[in-house]
């Protein structure tokens, strides 16, 4: 897979030159490849939100650079908007940004800003709504009449409609109930599979990350402390816990059992995998 987005020694300091000066992001260098799903974890204030906003040029790094296909995104200010169309960012609680009279108009806000012709906009709205799981009869309703979960999906569709090569979602499942969360995650996964674009998912839910990510980026105190496959990151549970982060409960259980001598694989991420391995052991011993 080829590198799509590259961060080179990225730093950002809030309130530079004031008594409130604070390093939000320190020397972050990383490569993001085309078509991968990256989970981003770290607790509030670890710099992950700042980092995400640097990736689409909303925040300009104090030093270092972001390269989108080898072009420095901050080199030409007039091209920044085009970068934002290619690197789509869905903020936390995105339903708070809905503003148009109808859902359709709201979703077309992005494509219209791109200067697309009307029929292309129409096509994009339709496709984005489908990906986000919005029923077509909702498109002509006011976004303020939708339920909480529908509003969230409408807002996400508003970014998907720009057809970004990289889609960044900042805590897309926050505040949803378990069912809403599962549905949204599977939609994101389906969208990724259909478009083969790159997805960055910021989440506090390790279970969500474990179920969807190929690689996991761990931020702590403004630094990127781990960036590796999901399995290897979650098998370093002791280090994560020292940073105040958890691992999925199932990973914690199987890691501990493995430590006590049960022959399980390292970094088990799902209940299904744990169940299969334990059942196999029990079968072999003739216990079930």
């Amino acid at each position: 897979m080829s590198t799509l987005l590259r961060c080179d020694n990225l730093c950002f300091t809030y309130g530079k030159g004031t008594p409130f000066e604070k390093d939000a992001v320190k020397n972050v260098s990383l490569d993001i490849r085309k078509g991968e799903v990256i989970g981003v974890i770290g607790h509030t204030g670890s710099g992950k939100s700042t980092l995400m906003q640097m990736l689409n040029g909303l925040i300009k790094p104090t030093s270092g650079a972001v390269y989108l296909e080898d072009a420095d995104i901050n080199a030409d200010k007039s091209k920044l908007r085009d970068v934002r169309f290619r690197v789509g960012l869905v903020f936390q609680y995105p339903e708070n940004q809905l503003f148009e009279e109808t859902v359709r108009k709201d979703i077309s806000f992005g494509p219209r800003n791109m200067g697309l012709p009307e029929d292309a906009i129409k096509e994009r709205v339709k496709r984005a709504a489908e990906f986000a799981g919005l029923k077509s009869e909702l498109l002509d309703r006011s976004p303020f009449d939708l339920s909480g979960g529908e509003k969230r999906r409408a807002a996400i569709a508003g970014v998907i409609a720009m057809d970004p090569e990289i889609l960044i979602l900042d805590e897309p499942t926050a505040g949803l109930d378990p069912m809403g969360r599962d549905v949204l995650l599977s939609q994101i996964e389906a969208y990724h599979n259909a478009r083969n674009n790159t997805v960055l998912l910021v989440s506090h839910s390790m279970e969500d990350i474990a179920s969807i990510a190929d690689r996991v980026l761990v931020m702590n105190k403004g630094e990127c402390v781990m960036f590796d496959t999901t399995q290897s990151v979650f098998s370093r549970s002791a280090e994560l816990e020292a940073m105040g982060l958890r691992v999925p409960q199932i990973t914690k259980i199987t890691t501990e059992l493995r430590k006590r001598g049960v022959p399980l694989s390292e970094g088990i991420l799902t209940v299904e995998q744990a169940f299969d391995e334990i059942r196999a052991i029990l079968k072999k011993e003739g216990r079930i």
């Binding site: 509030t44 204030g45 209940v271």
Partner: protein
């Protein structure tokens, strides 16, 4: 003796107008019989729109039933002249911590409730300090709320209710907007209040891990109570929980699956530790 009791509580919005645009989900209640004993820690779970939030707002007369009755400490919540008596006995903490703090300084905010109740100044001071200490926020008493973390703000909101010295605190999804650290802070604060000060707690949530330590879990769907029991009794019914769009802890799920494929398990585990203990006994 029940401290709070609802009898066949029903609630629906009379007209479209009443249905405030901010809660677009139609939260109705349909014959709910719910009770809480003094000193109990009860969790009410259900997916969004199951009616659990609507129920919570009936417990301190923010909403009044359209059918049936709600009694708080023996008083009918529809008795208008007892309204403030009821609200000082049952405090309600809401979901969004930002939207329930009134003042720009933590201690002034906590004082808001007792000030409204006409408590003497020295007594307010004592209650504010006590409430802030109870939620471990005393050292932040002179801070501005907007500079605190979500978990800290939510604990200030709890302190604001505590300062009214209620018998019972109802929390309507207090952790839904918090990060894991904030969640833990809030849950451990309310657990402590229940254990150490004997305050009755009703916790509305859809996060199952938060309910593991409570006395009783009540499952709601479509405005009705479906089932209640100890956390272990409720979570052992993995299929039932799943069917009602809720989660079971992964530890419980794993063991339930093993149980279904023939492994003999007497007591399904609720958390990682219990699961590890159980499985190491089986596997080693």
């Amino acid at each position: 003796m029940e401290f709070i009791k609802t009898e066949n509580l029903s609630f629906y919005y009379e007209s479209e107008e009443d249905e405030i645009q901010f809660d677009t989900v139609q939260n109705v209640l349909d014959g709910v019989c719910f009770s809480v004993k003094r000193g109990e820690f009860v969790a009410v779970i259900g997916h969004n729109g199951s009616g659990k939030s609507t129920l919570s707002k009936h417990l301190n007369a923010i909403l009044l039933p359209t059918g049936g009755k709600v009694y708080v400490d023996g008083t009918d919540t529809q008795e208008e002249d007892k309204l403030y008596d009821i609200r000082r006995k049952v405090g309600l903490v809401l979901q969004n911590p930002d939207n329930q703090l009134v003042a720009s300084i933590v201690e002034e905010d906590v004082a808001f409730g007792p000030e409204n109740m006409g408590v003497e100044p020295e007594e307010i001071r004592r209650r504010v300090d006590k409430a802030l200490k109870a939620v471990d926020m005393y050292e932040y008493r002179l801070h501005a709320p907007h500079k605190l973390s979500g978990g800290q703000k939510q604990r200030i909101a709890i302190a604001g209710i505590l300062a009214m010295e209620p018998d019972c605190i109802v929390l309507d999804e207090p952790t839904a907007m918090l990060d894991p650290k904030g969640r833990e802070e809030v849950i451990s604060a309310i657990t402590r209040l229940n254990r150490e000060q004997g305050i009755t707690v009703v916790l509305i949530t859809h996060n199952m891990e938060e309910t593991v330590d409570c006395h009783r879990v009540v499952v709601m769907d479509k405005g009705r109570i479906l089932r209640e029991g100890t956390p272990r009794e409720v979570f052992s019914q993995v299929e039932f929980i799943r069917r009602h769009r809720l989660d079971v802890p992964q530890a419980t799920e794993l063991c339930a699956k093993l149980q279904a494929s023939g492994l003999k398990i007497d007591k399904l585990p609720l958390d990682a530790k219990e699961c590890i203990d159980l499985l190491s006994e089986v596997l080693i």
